[in-house]
């Protein structure tokens, strides 16, 4: 495992993921395809743990994926890598704070970036959902879909929409209990 490569990949994420922790997800999803550090299946577990523990989501996910790829040192290196670009950028713009936000190019760039980030995150979630909702070796449409998982998903999404203020850890707890009761999905 090459720590330099790990650092470089997370540095790139830190430099290009705009819009907070969840915006790092599409990048992590591509990393899962590109390197053997962790799989898309691991990624769902990593999100669950990162949502259920204190600290910024993006940092938790970076520490976890780095750890999965290269152990304790990997977790530290990945976190350092993802933080360094924003640290440098903030130092650069701290003096011109107000001007930066009102800059015409910054503002107009974000009219494209904001909606694009929504699309990127959606695509990343879709690739995670495939693993839970589709059976890989199915022959017909009825067996292709994991109906049990789909019903569970709709139920949980409904609860989530109804109680938006509730902490995600509650939903994750419900998911875990149902998973154990039904013997897996």
């Amino acid at each position: 495992m090459n720590l330099g490569l790990l650092f470089f990949e997370f540095f790139k994420i830190g430099l290009f993921a705009v819009g907070g922790g969840l915006a790092t997800l599409p990048f992590l999803s591509k990393l899962a395809e590109k390197y053997p550090w962790f799989t898309s299946g691991d990624l769902a577990n990593i999100i669950a743990v990162s949502e259920s523990t204190p600290g910024p989501l993006g940092i938790n996910m970076a520490s976890y994926t780095g750890f999965t790829g290269a152990g304790i040192l990997g977790g530290i290196v990945a976190t350092f890598g993802i933080v360094l670009p924003s640290y440098l950028v903030i130092l650069l713009i701290a003096r011109i704070l107000q001007k930066f936000n009102e800059n015409r190019y910054v503002q107009t760039a974000f009219t494209g970036l904001r909606p694009a980030v929504v699309g990127l995150i959606s695509a990343a979630v879709l690739s995670i959902m495939e693993l839970s909702f589709l059976h890989p070796n199915a022959t017909t449409i009825l067996t292709l879909l994991n109906w049990k998982a789909l019903v569970m998903f709709l139920l949980l999404a409904l609860i989530r929409f109804r109680f938006q203020k509730a902490h995600p850890i509650i939903l994750i707890g419900i998911g875990a209990v149902f998973g154990i009761v039904f013997g897996g999905f």
Binding site: L25, T53, N60, T111
Partner: protein, 181 residues
């Protein structure tokens, strides 16, 4: 030196005791940084958040860098940044090492198969909220759908999609300056 340690510990407390990051951290930051320490004002803090959204990286971390830099320059920024990430790194590595040992147990696997579905549900709701906030005009739909399609069905790295979307925004909004005047 004492001030650097103070910066580190204060931000470590914020990082270690708030869940979710970003906006979930704002009330804790207000209490610790504005009310207790007087390091910044509520208005400044909201400005940092606004800039944090328009700069790469994780918003809570960007805010920590800002406050630390304002207090004690480059090293202050480093102390605050290190403070906010340290609890995460320690807690995550502990949990990840534990889970690694238990991952083979069927009950853990079953639990995680349910948890994965719950995660999809929590993120779906986040996406819907983001969508409501960021996708309103016709051009927003185009940016969102094109980014989705490129990311889902081509091997193009999100790096390029982000760069293209930013440039696209600049080129399709040439009148922005007059509007804001």
């Amino acid at each position: 030196m004492k001030e650097y340690i103070d910066l580190f510990l204060t931000f470590a407390k914020i990082g270690g005791f708030t869940f979710g990051g970003g906006y979930a951290m704002l009330p804790m930051m207000q209490r610790e940084l504005v009310e207790k320490k007087n390091w910044t004002t509520n208005e400044e803090l909201l400005n940092y958040y606004a800039v944090g959204q328009c700069t790469p990286g994780i918003i809570a971390v960007n805010t920590a860098t800002f406050v630390g830099y304002k207090r004690k320059g480059i090293l202050g920024g480093a102390a605050a940044t290190a403070g906010i990430v340290t609890p995460s790194v320690i807690i995550i590595i502990l949990i990840a090492s534990l889970l690694k040992n238990f991952a083979a147990y069927p009950i853990v696997q079953h639990a995680f198969s349910g948890i994965r579905i719950a995660v999809c549900a929590t993120i779906l709701v986040s996406i819907v909220n983001l969508w409501k906030k960021s996708v309103k005009k016709f051009s927003d739909y185009i940016f969102c759908i094109v980014a989705f399609l490129l990311s889902a069905f081509t091997p193009i790295s999100p790096v390029w999609i982000v760069l293209l979307a930013g440039m696209g925004g600049i080129f399709t909004n040439p009148k922005k300056e007059e509007e804001t005047k």
